[in-house]
Symmetry: C2
Subunit: 224 residues, 2 copies
């Protein structure tokens, strides 16, 4: 039973990788760097984008906003006069809990790729399945809020293991939490030794300058 | 494309419901009430259980602990001398993002059902897919932390629409957040008009007494 299930998933991921490569080719043709931006619900992805996306020193950025339903986050970002496309994953039942390469591909015609240098794809809030599906990105960034506890790298290892940068958000709340940053960093290094990390607060702006700098110079992947 | 996908999902949910009914029959035979306990990662499910599960005034409770990997939460609860069974959803790739009826069924032989009055199934931390899969429960409880923002009922409507009780957790942090409880309640009533809700803090214990009382008298579903 489990064996069959794994094979079905492997086939689905294989198809996904084929479409991700097609997306990648389109991004390369247009000269666009792409970030797959992930986190649990409410960790602060949209606010961290609001902080920097309109002010990237000449880097022309756009956003593809993934949600089960609604366009609240897209509306927040559109106020900043950044090109934003909404992608909803709800086809009538509970909705998909992640973006896959084909969903992203379906949105490409509505994105002004030739006018962009950077595309940030804000994934559905979820620490499991978004990590399983490449969408053609150059880099993966995840947000981990200090209100979620120190154990998350151990409980959701694939997400932490496959990302290129971890933004540890809401550090303004540290004085009010029983949260040990060192314990989180220890668990983070257990899941993904040495991964880049930044302590930030979208609310106070602490650490946001480093996040902006990183986004302006999204690293090219090692296999590019 | 979408149509086919919906049909596949409908068939999967149909099979799931068949197995959920078999679980339900086993729970009824043993006289066990069952709660499907759900939230985003880090919202405080385990701590809310730690607060009450060993002290339910004669109600003999057990826990089925669902995680992608590891047994940290199960270990925390086992310290309270409550029967706990760990169910991991990771069969070799990224892991399943939810429990379904068949996974729960696979764990039933290791649960002392005849010695229990109440079984709490702590689902994988995720606001999307856990809501789609019935597992044979009497009631669904979700935890929504105030650190996640007021918009979650609008972004993850199925989860909020299908639950019987919403625990609004971490209210001890309200003085330090730009969070309006009234706005959350407004959005909650938009998703699920009149659903039972409790303001709680697992940390300070505020509101926990009402949660304990509710758990001791899990409502029988209307169709029972």
């Amino acid at each position: 039973m489990h064996r069959t299930k794994v094979r079905v998933v492997e086939e689905a991921l294989d198809a996904n990788n084929t479409i991700a490569a097609a997306n990648r080719a389109d991004f390369d043709r247009a000269g666009v760097r792409v970030v797959n931006f992930m986190s649990a619900p409410g960790a602060g992805k949209t606010m961290l984008l609001e902080r920097v996306i309109a002010d990237l020193d000449g880097v022309r950025a756009g956003v593809l906003e993934g949600d089960v339903q609604g366009s609240m986050d897209a509306d927040r970002l559109a106020h900043l006069h950044v090109p934003v496309t909404q992608l909803n994953t709800d086809p009538g039942f509970g909705g998909e809990c992640h973006l896959d390469a084909n969903m992203v591909r379906s949105a490409l015609p509505s994105l002004p790729l030739d006018d962009l240098d950077l595309l940030v794809i804000e994934n559905v809030g979820n620490l499991v399945c978004p990590a399983e599906f490449r969408v053609g990105e150059d880099a993966r960034v995840m947000v981990c809020s200090v209100t979620e506890g120190e154990d998350k790298p151990l409980k959701y290892p694939l997400m932490f293991r496959t990302c290129d940068l971890v933004l540890i958000n809401k550090i303004d709340l540290l004085p009010h939490l029983e949260f040990e940053v060192d314990k989180l960093l220890y668990n983070l290094d257990a899941a993904h030794p040495g991964v880049s990390r930044m302590l930030v607060s979208a609310k106070t702006g602490e650490g946001v300058e480093a996040w902006r700098d990183w986004l302006m110079r999204v690293p090219v992947p090692a296999n590019a």
